[in-house]
Subunit: 239 residues, 2 copies
């Protein structure tokens, strides 16, 4: 028998996170777009965007593609989450899903219009989803909250330059708890993951805030030996 022997189909899906103000409380919280299934199994149920892996694309490319196709978003951060492959996770056929998780900037999230088959949900209270996607979402959220505390993924939610308040707002939204501005500042500044720019942000009715820029070099150190998580969409690394 040939090396290709497998009755298992392979799919790539993505959990997409963005921050948006809660429609009622106005507080920033974590949201994610889901797509409605238009075929069996689980017709009509909400599910993670994804699809079968094409033979000519890498895993991350596949994630970025299906993500863009369904939601028009281009993620700022994209990393593999986990491969889910339990025998019975998909009624009617063995499917192994390699799941990625992505972070998109808040402004971008607004671009992703809602349609009949695409809708944003608050990550902490998604409805009952297709397949084992509830478990996947839960795990992705756990990873997000976890990783926020020991790496610098928070930058993926903000612009190229940002104030420390903006960055703190991201942390507070994800971790769901207020942080001391003074201590947060020292913690971030001391970590070297951020570098101050010349510019200040005026306009608020208060003292202007210094703008910072993400320091890629310093952050790469903790990411392990895997060929750096760069984005398929843009050049990256081009200064």
């Amino acid at each position: 028998m040939a090396a290709h022997a497998t009755d298992v189909s392979l799919a790539v899906s993505t959990v997409i996170f963005a921050l948006r103000p809660h429609p009622e409380t106005g507080r920033m919280t974590v949201w994610m777009p889901l797509v409605r299934r238009i075929r069996e199994p689980f017709v009509g149920k909400w599910a993670l965007p994804g699809g079968p892996l094409e033979p000519d694309e890498d895993l991350a490319e596949s994630a970025a593609r299906t993500l863009a196709e369904t939601t028009l978003l281009t993620p700022q951060y994209l990393e593999q989450l986990y491969a889910f492959g339990n025998i019975d996770r998909s009624p009617g056929g063995r499917v192994v899903s390699i799941v990625y998780w992505a972070l998109v900037r808040s402004e971008e999230a607004d671009v992703a219009v809602e349609t009949e088959n695409v809708r944003w949900f608050e990550a902490d209270s998604v409805p009952e989803l297709a397949f084992d996607h509830n478990l996947i979402v839960e795990y992705a959220l756990w990873r997000l909250r976890n990783k926020l505390e020991y790496s610098s993924i928070a930058h993926a939610f903000v612009g190229d330059t940002f104030t420390l308040s903006e960055l703190r707002e991201v942390h507070e939204a994800v971790l769901q708890k207020p942080l001391d501005p003074a201590n947060f500042r020292r913690q971030i500044e001391g970590s070297g993951q951020v570098v101050p720019t010349e510019h200040l942000q005026t306009g608020g009715r208060h003292r202007p805030a210094r703008l910072y820029r993400y320091n890629r070099a310093a952050s790469d150190e903790n990411n392990g030996p895997l060929p750096s998580r760069s984005l398929p969409g843009r050049t990256q690394g081009a200064s």
Copy 2:
């Protein structure tokens, strides 16, 4: 096109770690068994044990099976590492490998006899391997060293009961640096991941050491929402 459409074959491989005394220095270091490839591509090169995913087994089951088939080992710990799926990682056919990493007790490692096609290597200096397996090994080692510091995987290397010296020896071997016995003791005891037994270990020409037992309950808390990483060999998951 049917849901099964895929030209990509799916394999499961495992990086197996065990601690063994270095033949020259005598110091404990990290070792791993590799298998020799007996067919193209990369005939004759060393590679991670693994094989195609069978349709009727879960991913972890597959890892445990191929691991047992090739090395006769049953791991104490088994966790998914990463899915490798670059287009060109396997000459002559697209293969996505879902890689697990496993820890086996030192005594067990001795069971795994060396044959013509199975040999133990020091993890830090493996030869040039087939496919992208050098990268995989490097990543697995990184994860091992990383995870040792914030979780309680060290227990997988020792017996059901153990002295704190034995546990410290594990840490020192993996981290490759000596640890202060006094501070190590406090750190472990304070973490709650270990619970003292009634028994002492006599026999050394020194004061007997208290035996401890692993405290599963306390450790599970940090492992995220994924259905606990327990071993396929024993019950679990049957439900």
